[in-house]
Symmetry: C2
Subunit: 312 residues, 2 copies
């Protein structure tokens, strides 16, 4: 049995002129509240150190550089690492990463209670577009600013718990949870930024919350694992993003959920024992899965014609 | 645009001594009500012609034979085919199939409005067990009575609509909807029998309905298609099965849902246009899916160790 108290540290809007030290101070406050409430692991959002900059088109490389971290930890973020280590709390943190050789990724790390980075993920399902849509109040340029992640979907040992990593839009893709579950993940953690204003058509605003929660609940249930998701939310530079940070159970229920759209800590205790009966019955993968019939999932990317099927 | 009025014809308990003509008469009544209410296609349950016999252990081959159809249609079922053709209504029907060469499958067919069988599916995700668990009031012997289906997950043209077929427990497996969506399915149809009494552990009774609906909603949303599911439900020979027959929308909402646990028709109008904006944005598979990172889905059946991942 692994029992672990997990906090989801939701972060309200970060304005474009808010500098790293100010943001990190907010994160440290959330971490301290989480630790006071018994949390041993804290999930922070995607791009938790900056405003959700993919809404801006720019060709000014200095401005772009200002959004990315070229080392982790770095002096501005070090106080978060230090405080977490002091408190003996692990965490997940999303940020924009620029590598030494000039690659750009939408990245998340996990840090264990001793302060070491023990897992890393670079976002694979990048939403939005890469072209300049000038007529939009807020663009969604993840496909411009980031490359598709090159590390796959990994599961890492975080203080004895098997933790799978993903980011934001990944949560809507069932392949993600499945690949993590097939590696034995007990908990999937993710941060997200989900703006209401997006380019082109998406679901109506009132469906943003239901499809978000549905995605977490389905991923948790269909894979007999826990899911903890932290939002960056509220208003950033005039653009609204949903809250709804939550922990979903292996039964597909919501264990805890944030109610605000600002800085807020929600805490829940997860227990890997609760997953076990699901894994031994309805989701006994070894007994029930039939991969020979799933090949189209990797053989096709987009929708195509029906494979001719016999009618005996 | 394809607009189609679809009925889900939920069937209450079928007792072991209820013969085929009596059952077929019930199905015809449901079909007639559906047609009166404008339905052009009717979804019947899994094993819609018999009681849910996998609850019984028997080695009496005559008794087993009595549960299976060796031809479809056959004289007992012909009145359903005839009435559907008269009314110009297509349908999905689940039944236990014995082939000429002695194979046994849990099968579903689709019949178009001209009365022809235009698609067939043999269940792939068989739940339950194959051993005799004498201590149980109701067993779940699908793995004893049926072989794993050999036709894959097919999508068929039913009067101009692309319809994907599956059965019962398949609805809990995200691979099923994905394989059907990758073949362009606009509607996934399924019948189910979901008993509360099952061998070994499963989720508590109060979760049977939430996990059922969650599975339909997630499959519909994550694949931008409609899902229509029909229950056999109520009490059969002392064993209770849930109702909850429903149609889920490409937005993950429930369009209509049965409220009883007996014979009941629910009707909804689906529109393939409603799926399109989802398919062009968040679920533009061609733009966003990354099959090179999904390989574990077919390379592994059960859960295994994490694939070693770099932490650059």
């Amino acid at each position: 049995m692994t029992r672990r108290t997990v906090a989801v540290a939701q972060v309200g809007g970060i304005q474009p002129d808010e500098d790293r030290p100010a943001v990190v101070e907010r994160l440290v406050h959330l971490l301290e509240e989480a630790a006071e409430r018994g949390a041993q692991f804290v999930v922070f959002p995607e791009m938790a150190l900056t405003t959700f900059f993919p809404r801006y088109w720019t060709e000014d490389t200095d401005r772009v550089d200002s959004w990315f971290e070229s080392a982790m930890p770095n002096p501005a973020v070090q106080p978060l690492f230090d405080r977490a280590k002091e408190l003996g709390v692990g965490f997940y943190l999303g940020y924009a990463e620029r590598t030494d050789d000039g690659h750009h990724y939408n990245t998340a790390i996990v840090v264990d209670s001793s302060g070491g980075i023990c897992g890393k993920y670079r976002k694979i399902h990048l939403p939005g577009h890469s072209d300049n849509r000038r007529d939009l109040r807020a663009q969604h340029l993840e496909k411009k600013y980031f490359e598709v992640g090159d590390l796959g979907f990994g599961v890492f040992d975080v203080d004895g718990l098997k933790v799978g990593l993903c980011l934001c839009n990944d949560r809507r893709w069932p392949e993600v949870y499945r690949v993590l579950a097939l590696q034995g993940a007990d908990l999937v953690v993710l941060g997200y930024n989900t703006p209401l204003d997006v380019p082109g058509w998406q679901e109506p605003p009132h469906m943003k919350m239901s499809t978000h929660l549905l995605s977490l609940q389905a991923g948790a249930y269909q894979n007999s694992l826990w899911v903890a998701a932290a939002a960056k939310c509220g208003v950033e530079d005039g653009s609204y993003m949903i809250g709804g940070s939550a922990i979903a159970t292996p039964g597909g229920d919501i264990l805890v959920q944030a109610l605000s759209d600002s800085d807020e800590v929600v805490v829940g205790t997860i227990d890997t024992d609760y997953s076990e009966p699901f894994r031994r019955s309805v989701f006994d993968f070894e007994a029930h899965r039939r991969p020979e019939h799933y090949r189209l999932i990797i053989e096709r990317t987009g929708r195509g014609e029906p494979v001719p099927a016999p009618i005996p």
